[in-house]
């Protein structure tokens, strides 16, 4: 029987299978950041163990950094201490750090791919659940806890059971105004926030093949939001074109050799999946979430479910709890509802293509006066590219400030927070209670839908602007 791409890569990285236990899996690349690494560094120090393979680790500061005046010392004492601890740990243990002020600094899942660190066939981990992003290159990439960060420090391996495999096929052509963020929000709304728990997902089909690398990363990024261990897409010419010439991508003869190996990374025709889902691209409309988990999403013209549509008492109570938090009513529509904030950023949608999309909508127009914005590029490189393409002038003319790279209001660890009770159309990945600040009400959507709200001050069907 044939193998899935997941099986091919996983099997190649298994050092040992423990009987009735997990497998010892070798990790090629380990990405770290300031929030989930300090306890792992102190852990190995307490054991008196050195870092096993420091050359396979790359560090950056992203979660807990300001997005204005990064050239000045961080004001918040705890944040400063955490970022300084990363600097000190990296120096002490010989880890390459792209910290604040470095030209490569940025959100860990943005810089890995753009620097060519992320490559097909690799196993990649990071103490961050959105590590699934790197799966867009045909890598097995997933988030781990800090104990596992310590394991990789100590032995370049983790211990995990092999997950089941699921394939989601999306075939057809996307409708006007529909982008990759809508595809993944649609999938999660279909199968729920726990629908892929225990699985590793492969995305396939003609609609996926037609997407750019940036768009594929958005999809793989949110795999965790349906519970999946990770998500991946087999590499193809789009992948190789994106990678070639990037800083850490192989060059010359090494490139040719790697390329030949990467071309073997696909799911065999007779491979079996534990679960398979088929989606018609034409069925997908621009999407938006209305609740407090990413599975609570609907087509932008859709109506919120009625209370009666939930059979189970606990489900009913949970839905009512979410409605109360969001200040919404069962059965209502969302289009036309005023919003106060727009956040464009996060490891889901902060790449150059996202900024091009937003710029294409706001060009020559003005931001709605009632809207406050947080517009945050994913990396210094993205910020540089925004300037090089003159997109910064379009944003400035629209009355919108572009900030400096970091995770920002996606998780509200720094000062970029949404005030309690206010709505935010956000291109990020989670609409959990309090995620963007205590009491903040998050509506997840695509960069296009966010751009539309930026202009109108309300939830808007992007197709009304495009037509």
């Amino acid at each position: 029987m044939g193998k899935t791409i997941f099986d091919k890569i996983w099997d190649k990285h298994v050092v040992k299978i423990i009987e009735d236990g997990p497998s010892v899996v070798y990790i090629d690349k380990h990405l770290i950041h300031e929030v989930t690494s300090p306890q792992a560094f102190s852990g190995i120090e307490k054991r008196g163990v050195p870092l096993f393979r420091p050359a396979q680790i790359v560090a950056t500061a992203d979660h807990n950094v300001p997005t204005l005046h990064q050239e000045l010392p961080i004001k918040d004492a705890l944040s400063k201490f955490q970022v300084d601890t990363l600097i000190e740990n990296c120096k002490k243990h010989g880890v390459e750090l792209y910290g604040l002020g470095h030209q490569y600094q940025g959100i860990v899942h943005v810089i890995g791919p753009e620097l060519g660190i992320t490559q097909p066939g690799m196993t990649i981990v990071c103490g961050d659940s959105h590590t699934s992003t790197h799966g867009a290159f045909g890598a097995i990439a997933f988030g781990i806890g800090t104990s596992e960060v310590e394991m990789v420090f100590a032995a370049q391996c983790i211990m995990q059971s092999k997950p089941k495999v699921m394939r989601i096929n999306i075939d057809g052509a996307l409708k006007n105004g529909v982008v990759s963020k809508d595809i993944i929000l649609y999938i999660i709304a279909q199968i729920s926030a726990s629908g892929a728990t225990g699985y590793f997902v492969e995305y396939a089909g003609s609609a996926i093949r037609a997407l750019s690398m940036e768009a594929r990363m958005t999809i793989c990024n949110m795999s965790i939001e349906m519970g999946a261990r990770g998500g991946m897409i087999a590499p193809d010419q789009t992948t190789y074109d994106y990678m070639q010439g990037r800083m850490f991508a192989p060059k010359g003869a090494a490139w040719e050799e790697k390329l030949a190996a990467w071309k073997q990374l696909y799911t065999d025709a007779d491979a079996k999946f534990d679960m398979e889902i088929n989606i018609v691209a034409e069925d997908i409309d621009p999407m938006i979430t209305y609740g407090t988990n990413p599975g609570m999403g609907l087509s932008i013209q859709g109506k919120l479910p009625t209370i009666e549509s939930f059979g189970d008492v606990t489900e009913k109570q949970n839905y009512e709890k979410a409605l109360k938090y969001m200040g919404l009513t069962a059965g209502q529509t969302l289009v036309g509802m005023p919003v106060q904030n727009v956040f464009i950023g996060s490891c889901t949608n902060s790449r150059i293509e996202d900024f091009r999309l937003v710029a294409s909508i706001i060009k020559g127009k003005q931001k709605h006066p009632g809207i406050k914005t947080l517009i945050v590029p994913g990396s210094q490189e993205v910020a540089k590219q925004i300037k090089a393409e003159g997109l910064d002038k379009i944003f400035a003319a629209a009355g919108v400030e572009i900030r400096q790279a970091g995770c920002s209001a996606c998780l509200g660890m720094n000062e970029d927070k949404i005030p309690a009770g206010e709505y935010c159309i956000s291109t990020s990945n989670r609409n959990f209670e309090g995620r963007q600040g205590a009491g903040a009400r998050t509506l997840l959507a695509s960069p296009l839908t966010a751009a539309a709200a930026l202009l109108t001050g309300k939830i808007t069907d992007i197709r009304e602007i495009l037509n």
Binding site: Y26, T36, Q82, G143, C157
Partner: protein, 195 residues
């Protein structure tokens, strides 16, 4: 890591689905550089009004005096979202040794096990039976036998755990000790596979 064998305890019923790790420990508490003291901020924004410990929310189970114990019982998909191990540290530091649910998110489950907190997955029907018993009733979780029992009714269910993890928990071993003992095999793997 602390070992864990058998626990008989009252429990705290948290009838909420999809409890994400942002609720278990909000991001603003992630600025710490040690693993200590997270228990006081467990479920912080569900526990207190205005982030103020002087204003406990009366409708939240951790604030209801009739409930106590070392076992947390939650509705399905517990621990979804962020991979922050701070969630497991908060639960452990608060004093929970076992979390029961009909469904756990993958990363949380691993994080809990790596901190000596046992995630016990039960059927939906059994979960409802637990929620139905009184605040003074106890549950017995026996790791050796892999059973969970509602002591008042005698209802018992078996739960899954692989024998490797079970041995680790029973004895308080952790994965890093195991991996360090495999150094030679890992080096051999590298020699064979480095291109």
């Amino acid at each position: 890591m602390q070992s864990l064998q058998k626990i008989k305890s009252r429990f705290i019923p948290l009838r909420i689905e999809n409890v994400d790790t942002d609720q278990i420990i909000p991001a603003r508490f992630l600025k710490a550089t040690t693993k200590d003291g997270f228990g006081k901020n467990l479920f912080r924004d569900w526990r207190y009004e205005n982030d103020n410990e002087a204003q406990p929310k009366a409708d939240f189970v951790l604030n209801q005096k009739q409930y106590a114990g070392e076992i947390l019982v939650a509705a399905k998909n517990f621990g979804c979202g962020s991979s922050r191990e701070h969630a497991a540290w908060s639960i452990q530091d608060y004093g929970f040794k076992v979390v029961v649910s009909s469904f756990f998110a993958d990363i949380f489950k691993n994080n809990a096990l790596n901190n000596g907190v046992l995630p016990v997955t039960v059927t939906d029907a059994f979960l409802q039976q637990i929620f139905a018993v009184g605040a003074n009733d106890t549950l017995t979780v026996d790791l050796e036998k892999q059973t969970i029992t509602i002591d008042a009714t005698g209802a018992t269910e078996k739960f899954d755990i692989n024998s490797y993890k079970k041995t680790c928990l029973l004895n308080g071993y952790d994965d890093i000790d195991y991996l360090l003992s495999m150094k030679t095999e890992i080096e051999a793997y590298e020699k064979e596979n480095q291109s």
